[in-house]
Every structure is written in C-alpha cells, then in structure tokens.
Symmetry: C3
Subunit: 452 residues, 3 copies
C-alpha cells in the first residue's frame, strides 16, 4: 500500500538510534563483564564440555525455535500485521536474549555482591531465551498497538524488573520454578496487561483489522505447533538431571499439554459463538497445559495429576478467550490482542498454585537424594513451609509484573517521549508492503452459497 | 463463510462428549496403570537417566515434529480444508499418543500375562507417537470425508487393533521392523483404505473442493520437508545402539529417501498429465524411500541397496498417484484423499519384502555380537527362516489392517450412531472460517495470458 | 495457468534423463567406493558409536533443516516462483548431498593417493549437507532464470570444483574454516555470481515477476528464521569438541548473528527506499553475522568481537542490497535474484579477513593443548604465518569460485546443449500450477485508501 507512504515521510528515525544505542550498551557489557570459555579462564579437566554443551544443546535449540518461530508465527494471525508480528518479534527477541543475559547476570552479581567475569555457556544462552520469552508474552498484549521503538524501550526496562523478580524468587525465596510458570509466564503476562491498560483501548474503527484471515490463521498454526511440540524442552531445559527429574519434566509436560489440547478442543466446540472450532482457541488454549506445568514439571507425582492440570488449564483458557477478555476490554479498558491473560496469565496462576499444592503433598521419599536439587531450600524447610513460599512467590511475581508494567506503560504512553502508533494492527506504517498480485479465478460469494 | 452457519445450528455436541469421555478413559488408565520415574519406583544407580533421556530425546522431538507439523501440514493441501487438516490432525494425534501408549502397554501386559505399573519414559512416548503415526496415515485416506467425532472413535478402535498387530509381529513372530514399514505403515494404510471403501466415494459435485490451490500447496510443502528431513530419526529412534546399528539406520534412511526424492522428480516429469512437475507427487512420492526403509534400516548392507530401494519406491509411488488411485476410485469405489496407498501402502510392501530379502542375504558376520539385537529370534532361527517370518509378518499386517479397517469402517458408516460429514473437503461445517480480506491488484486471467 | 501448457507440449524430457543419469552415477560410486559401518569393517571397541552418532546427530539434523527448509523457503519470496523455489531446492539439495559426499571423498583420496572404501558416518552426511549449502547459495543468484536441467548439470560440475577448492584450503593450506566462510560461502557465492554474469540480465519485461507478494514474503520468513536459529549448529557441527572449542563456536555464532539481526533492522530503517523495514533486508541481511562467523567461530576471543563482526556484516549486507546489487546489475550485467553477493559474498570476505586478524591476535595460551585441533598447522607455523595462510585461502576460494563459475556458466549458456528458461521467475513452465480459488470479500483498493 504505497498510498500510505506519503503520510509518514520522515517517520521515526528514533527506531534506528534506539536500536543501535541498545546494541552498543549490550556490546559494552559483553566486552567488560563477560567472556567465552578458553583454556585460560576454565579448567577443561574439572569442567568437561560434556556437562556444558552436550547436555543442553538439543533442548536449547528447541527453546530457540519456540522463541523465534513459535512466538513469531503465533502472532501472525492478524490479517494485515503478519510482517510486523514475525519481524518485530525477531528483533525484539534478539535484543531480549542479549539484554536478558546481561540483566540476569548483573542483578545476580549485585544481589550476591560478588563481581566476576561471567563465562557464557549454553545455560547462559537458555536463560537469555527465557528472558526473551517473558518479553514476547508481553508483546502479545500490545500487538499492533505500539511502535517498534516503544517496544525496544519496553524491552530494556522490562528485563531489569524481570531480572529483579527472578532473583527474588529463585535466589532469595528459593522456590522451584524450572519452566517459569511464575518467573516467565506470570511476570510477563501481568506486566503486559498493565502496559496495555496504560495504553488504552483502540477505537472500534481502529480495530477493524484486529481480526484474522485464512492464511494468517494458517501461519499462526506454525507457531502454535512448534510451541506445543517443544514445550517439554522449555520446561526441562534447566532442570537438574539427577534422579530422573529431567525425565519427569519431559513426561509431565507432554501429558499436561496433551490434555490441554484435548480440553481446549472440547471447550471451543461447546462455548464458541458459532458452536464450531474457533481458531483463536485452537491456536492458543491448546498450549495452556505447558504454561501450567512450568512450576511442577520436575516434581514426582502420578501422571493423572499432570493430565488433570492440563485439562483444567485448557478449559479455563478457552473460557477466558470467550468471556473474560471481551468483558475486561469493555469494563476496565484492557485490550489484550493475543489474549495473554488466557494463555499465560490464568494458566500461570493455575501452575503456581498447583506447584504449591503438589509441594505440600508429595512424599520426600520420592526424591531420594535429589530432594535439594528439586527444592534448593528443603535442607532447612519442611514441605509445607516450602509450599507457602511457592504461593508467596506467585503473589510476588504477579505483583511485580503488574506494578512494573504500570510504570513502564506510563512511560511508553508519554507523547513527549514517544510518537504513538497511528495505523493500528497494520504493517504499512512500518513496513514496505508489496502489492498483492494474483491471477484469481473468483467464484463470487453469493454464487458459491447458492450452489450448495 | 457465516452463510453456512445457519445450516448446522445444533450440530454434533457429540464431539465434545466423545472427546472428554476418551480423555477421561485415558486419565483413568494413566492414574491406575502408569507412573513416572521417582526414587521409590526406580533405582537411579542401575537405571541411569542417560540411557533413558539423553539417548532418545533429540530423536523423540524429531518424531514429534513429524507427527504434528509433518502429517499436519502435509494434509493442508486441500484448498478449503487446511484449518481442518492441521487442527484435526492436532487433536487426533494428541489422543492417539495417549491412547497408543495405553493400548500398546495393556496388550503387551495381557499377552505376557504380567501386570505391573508401567513407568513412562521417553521410549514410551516415542511408541505413543508411532501409534499416532498409524492413525494419521489412516486419516489421510478419509481426509475431508468424515467428521472429527467419527475420527475420535476410529482412533479409539484402530489403536486396539494396532496394538494387537504390533504384539503379534514383534512379541510373537519376533520380526525386525524398527521403523515400522509393517507395524505402522502397512497396518495404518490398509486399515485406512478399508475404512474408506466402507464410506464410499463422494459424488463428483461433492468433490469440487478435493483439489489444491497455490498457498495450500505451499503449506503442504512444510509438512513434506519436515517429514523428509526427520525420517532418519523416525527409523532409528527405537533401534538398539550396539555395533553401529543405529548409525546404519540413519545413513540408510538418508540414502533411501534421497533416492526416492530423485526418482519421484524424474517420474513426475515423465508421467504427469501435463508433463510438468505435479505438486502432489513432489509432496508425497519423495517420501516413499523413508517408508520403504522402515524394516531394513538397521540391517548391514551396501549403501547402493538403500538407494535402489528408494529409487523403486519413488517411482512406484508416482505411478500409483498417476494411475492406480484414479483406477481404484472408479473400479472398486476406493476414494483415497491423500493417496496413502501410494505413499504408505505400496512402499510399505516394498519395505517388507526388501526386509525379508536382505534378511536372507546378509552374512551374520556383519552383525557380530549384535545379531540378536537386530533380530531378537536369531538365537534359534536361521537367516532364511527369519526371512520367511518377515514375509509372514507383512502378510499379517496387511490382513489385520484390512479386516479391522472394514469392521471399524462399517461401524463408522452407521447412520444410527454417527451423523455423517455433510460438506465434503470444506472447513465450514466444523470451523469458524474468517472472511478472506484482501486489497488485491488483480490482473484478470485473460489479460495476463494475452500479455505474454 | 493451464493456458501456458500448450506452449511447451514436448518440453525438456532431458530433465528426467539427466536426473536419472546423475542418480545412477551416484549409485555406482556408492556401490563401489562406499560402505556402511558393520562388525566386519569397523571395530566397535575402538570406534564407539557414541563418538560417531550421539556427538553429531542433533547438529546434523539442524543443518539438514537449514538446507531443505532454510534455503528452500528463503527462496520462495518471488510471487510466482514459490513452487519452483522450494521444490527445485529440494531435488538439487538431494543430488548435492549425494554427489558432494562422493566428490569430496574422491578428491581427497586422489589428492592423498590413498584409495580405500569410505565408511559413511554422520560426519560424512554433514559434509554432504555442507556441499549442498554451496550449491544452494549459487542457486540463489540464478533463481528463476535457469531450468532445473541446467541446475542439475551445474550441480554436477560445481561440486567437483568445490571439492578441489575444499581440498586445497583444508588439506593443503591447512587453514581453519569450520563453518565454511571461505569453503562454502565465498566459493558458492562467487561461483554463482560468475554463472549469473554469463547468463546475462533478463529484460525488464521478463523481470515483471521478479518481485514478492505478501504470502510469499511470509513463507520466506520461515526459511529466514530456521537458518537464523540453527546457524550455531552449522558453524559448530564439525568443530572438534576439545577444550570448549565447540561451545565457543555456538556462543560466538549466537552473538554474531544476533548482532547482524539488530544492525540489519537499524540499517534498513535508515536506507530503504521508503524509510521503512524492507522484507528483503529482514529476510537476508539478518543472517550475515552467521556467514561472517564461519571461519573464526571456534577461536577464543572476547564476546564483544563476535558482536562487532556481526554488526558490520549486517550493515554491509543491507547496503549491498540497497546500493550494490542495483549498481552491478546496471553496470556489469550481474543479475543476482536473491542477492547472494550481499548475504554470502561480502559477509564471507568479512569472515575470512576477520579470521585472519583474530588468528594473528589471539594468544596461544587461550587454546592450551587444543591449539592444533583449532589450527592443524600450528605445530610448525607461527600465528602470524597462519594468518597469512588464512588470507591466501580466502583469495583462492574467491578466485576458484569465480573462474570455475565462468567456465560452468559458459557451458550452461550454450544453446546447443541446453534449452534456456523461457518464462522467467514463473512456475508455469515447469510446474502444474493449480487454479487459485477464493471466496473473497474484496474491499477495492481505492475504497480502502479512502476509508483511512
């Protein structure tokens, strides 16, 4: 649509400046505070590479695919915003994984008051992708409504709060959350919802393209399926391998996310407007069981529990898309483009609560000598006490996400600092969009209906 | 197409009921008969996780991608049935992998009369995906012709027969079939063809949308390529690692499936209607070499044999699409939407026969001490005798598939039990399909041709 | 477009003949010169499979995805050539990996004058995929302009020169180039540019379809992202594991290709025609940091260096697309459909030069006992001398690629030997293209623009 080019002749060179500034900040941190393993800074006899690369690489690549193809394509469902979804996801993820590594490392060093050069290994890279996951969840709430420049600055600030929250939960409260129900999903979702409330709801006219079409829904399914398939890698990538804990994380996640797929298909058939399958539900609610298993995936319980958690998450997610999101948009001015409340917010609460209940219920004998690898603090805490800490962590993650989201959202909304997105849910403001060429043999709609 | 909504106001809430019933049955079995590894039910010293997770996980994820993205997108080629293909494949696969784990485990326990709690590990999950493979092959024959509800019930019954057939072949006849030429492909294909014969051929008018368009063919290529690339993982995932057997399974499959790609491209250019490349052949026949290597992939023979098997499979598959499928549809009323006879049926027979011939031909010295890991029964059988057992297994797989397919097809066709699909090869009956929005600069077809 | 069928009634059965001839030649070589591991030809005690399969398989599959989905979909961006891009990429890759294995093995045996049966293992397969990478880079320059038959013959000859070049660089000059900046990218790119110069520039009318449309750009992003994500596997697959070298290859590639994504997004926003993001740049220039890290990925340097190299590569690549390619097309008649000069040519020179500089700069103590695993020749060469050899290798790769490309291009252009492509950048000459069916609710372009 070259027609719209004229409207923005000198638009927003702030983007390139912001991006390069951001990248240079990352470059400086990497130059000063980080290094790569070599024979001087690591002892290859005590730290074998097998424990650093072979153990994590395949799962790392799966997580990588979830971040770039999974999130990227999941958000292409809008009919005129697919270029933006996959491309902006790309560059935001790239900055997030770099800045995420830096933020998490620096907050940890400041918190521990122990400053040393950090050697980047594959687990560091996985933590970078995890941080990107939180930012991309947030992106889902504001998709189509804010500019890439705003997103870069949001990324910068969000990850600082993300790192603080992660430090509090893991290093201070010593809770278990290997797949990030609380650290990633709850924080990222409530941060995004708070940002979105600050930005307000676009007018009905502006929302004319807040809708899918056939091919954009098909592209979104690429994202859905790669997220769905690789979720077991996401939840188990950072789980200690001792005593089958990682194997459990895989099996539990497969069962839970399978169950959420089943319950989402059943629920959408019953509650959707048309009593048919709604692709929004198929694309999103099917994944809720992965989110809900992020805390407890490594715990040792009967497989029926994982399936039950997944079933509940899938149904709750569909109900959220059908009833809660429209309700909140109307009542409290919360516009949530991808429905992250339903895919990440509510399932993460289910996941956090389930994690606490399971923590209180499972016999220690199931863990044997690996008890403190599952729960770092079980040396000095009982299982009941640990369960309360798990719940406290969930509350903190939601609160931290919400409060910091409001702060960052307030900043992003400032008309002095940022030009706001003009064309909502459309590529044209930021992308050169090629003319759509077709040799079409069109059967007009009315003829087609008649013909039946 | 909201126009069609009115026609089915209260349609088929049987789907949600069937699906939840199916899921609850799975839940109960998982609760009672299965468990996940923990320090009480497994001895972590004797059963190291390395032998359970690290050895299988990467290949498991590849198989997972084949099941959900491979099969799912391969079947999106129909111009108005892409939502259905990828989504119904999704939910059917999810139920298949759960019920497949249960069916295979229970049949094995009943057969061996030895009942114990089954600990789910990654190999269990791979076997679940293998079972899903058989069901999704079957789905290809009836694509666009039966309802999701019928498919759920088909899945339930097919996997019971699948598990019985698998038990007979592997545990009773002790044949080698690690990539499932017989257990998965032959059974699944002939089951599907029998079901499809029972359902009959849609009328010419009903088949108006049994055709592809440009983008649906492109989406299907995603499926083709992921199936093609990861087929070595499928064939080698469950092969014992001793004495290079698994390495052979990888190399043989790469060579065979490469050769079938080459011969399919050559054949389609020669025999297709237009003497051009036909995307149906490119999408399907290129994969025949993977199917045909499913039995013999781990055997030790000259690489030229693998290539020859692939070459034959690719050509036979193209000839099947071009000549056999239209012939059978007209003569015996066999409608085979995806041409599974050509991609799975005939190549699986090539694979089974090739497996028998190679079994009879290869010197035992090639296997050294791993002979009984390749063939469980070679302790007491000669290679010639084993070859006859391999052939017998092929006959049984085809017969079991066909007979049980007729039974299940008869049941599915019953108008008393099931409402039949009304709109053939169209999403609208089951999916809310968004309006197709475009700003198109259309060059009318006639102008375009003139312009050349 | 069946309208064009009539124009080519008896077209080019040379394709099927060429392809089968090519495949039979491969078959004969595999039969005579190659074998697969078995208990007779390998000692399973000294050569454990773990060191052959487990160490390489996951990365091999990633490389496989890059070759078939990465390159295949990256080239689907043309609006009427997507079938061709993904399908011809498929068959050319399949022949390349077979013939590449043979060519590299035979040239090495001739060069070393040591003839023995080659046992195919996973590293052999990776080398086959690497060879395919070079051919597919070349394909990018001539995309839409030459026939599949010509491509097959080009593949046959290119890989002979590729193998000779690889032998000279690695076995004679003993340079380090594990990710193939020189062996794969420089050779493949300059070979392709030379072929393309020989073929000439299509007329303006012939270039009417040398342009993308919305969905073809979306499909191309699938290719971009899988290339981007798996590039760390490409660069590290063949790196020795000792002393963290492979871990460094992963980390350096992630950092470099992240930086090139960032700088490409910044640069396209500043220099593109419309001052918006240009999908050509997003699809291609984001990858330049992977190419530029192909030589030095395993070297031991500060992570800020990898980021800097990536930043430069991304910017240079965007500037190439924006200014250099149009300039060269006009001035020297170089038509470069995918801009391989910008994605592979110039970044590979950056990579080769950076490799030489880093070679001269890094202290040997960083490598410890693994120095000769990083640089095979550092037993007898100083680091400065090695740096000059690295530069020499870059010059040779560019020269070998260019000269052999001109020779093969001259041959391909011969009207006596080859029928030339008639319909440029269009599927119809070679593919049966289905009619495009749609039920479209079209908002005419002018109305839509008015409505804003």
């Amino acid at each position: 649509m070259s027609s719209s080019t004229g409207s923005f002749p000198t638009q927003d060179q702030g983007f390139a400046l912001s991006l390069m500034l951001f990248q240079v900040v990352c470059l400086i941190f990497f130059a000063i505070k980080f290094d790569i393993a070599n024979s001087n800074n690591l002892d290859s006899e005590t730290e074998t590479e097998d424990l650093r690369l072979r153990d994590y690489y395949a799962m790392y690549m799966d997580v990588h695919v979830m971040i770039f193809v999974g999130f990227g394509f999941l958000m292409t469902f809008l009919r005129k915003y697919s270029f933006s979804a996959v491309s902006i996801n790309f560059v935001v993820a790239v900055m997030s994984l770099q800045w995420g590594i830096i933020a998490v490392t620096m907050v940890r060093q400041i918190g521990d008051n122990e400053y040393s050069t950090k050697i980047i290994d594959v687990t560091t890279l996985i933590n970078g992708d995890f941080a990107a996951g939180a930012v991309l969840i947030t992106f889902g709430a504001v998709l189509g409504k804010i500019t890439p420049t705003q997103l870069l600055w949001m990324t910068f600030f969000e990850l600082i709060f993300y790192a603080i929250n992660e430090y509090i939960l893991i290093e201070t409260l010593h809770v278990a959350d290997p797949g990030g129900s609380m650290v990633i999903h709850a924080f990222g979702a409530f941060f995004g919802l708070a940002v979105s409330i600050m930005l307000g709801v676009p007018s009905e006219e502006e929302q004319v393209h807040n809708i899918s079409q056939y091919n954009s829904d098909m592209f979104a399914m690429i994202g859905t399926l790669f997220l769905w398939m690789y979720w077991p890698s996401f939840n188990s990538a950072m789980v200690a391998t001792a005593d089958f804990q990682q194997e459990r994380a895989v099996v539990n996640t497969v069962l839970s996310i399978s169950a959420s797929c089943a319950s989402a298909f059943a629920a959408t058939k019953v509650v959707s407007h048309t009593k048919k399958f709604d692709m929004v539900h198929v694309q999103n609610a099917t994944l809720a069981g992965g989110v809900a298993m992020g805390t407890s995936c490594g715990f040792a319980f009967n497989p029926a529990i994982a399936i039950t958690i997944g079933l509940i998450a899938g149904i709750v997610s569909v109900l959220g898309y059908r009833y809660v999101t429209p309700f909140l948009e109307e009542k409290i001015g919360l516009s949530d483009t991808c429905g992250i409340l339903n895919l990440h917010g509510m399932p993460s609460i289910i996941g956090g609560v389930a994690g606490a209940i399971i923590t209180a219920s499972v016999s220690d004998s199931n863990y044997g000598s690996s008890l403190t690898e599952v729960y770092a603090a079980r040396d000095w805490r009982g299982s009941g006490e640990q369960a309360w800490y798990q719940l406290l962590a969930l509350v903190i993650a939601v609160a931290m996400g919400t409060v910091s989201g409001f702060i960052v959202g307030f900043y992003l909304k400032s008309p002095v600092i940022f030009r706001q997105q003009k064309l909502k849910y459309e590529d044209e403001e930021w992308f050169h969009v090629p003319e759509n060429f077709q040799v079409t043999v069109t059967t007009p709609a009315f003829n087609y209906v008649e013909a039946k």
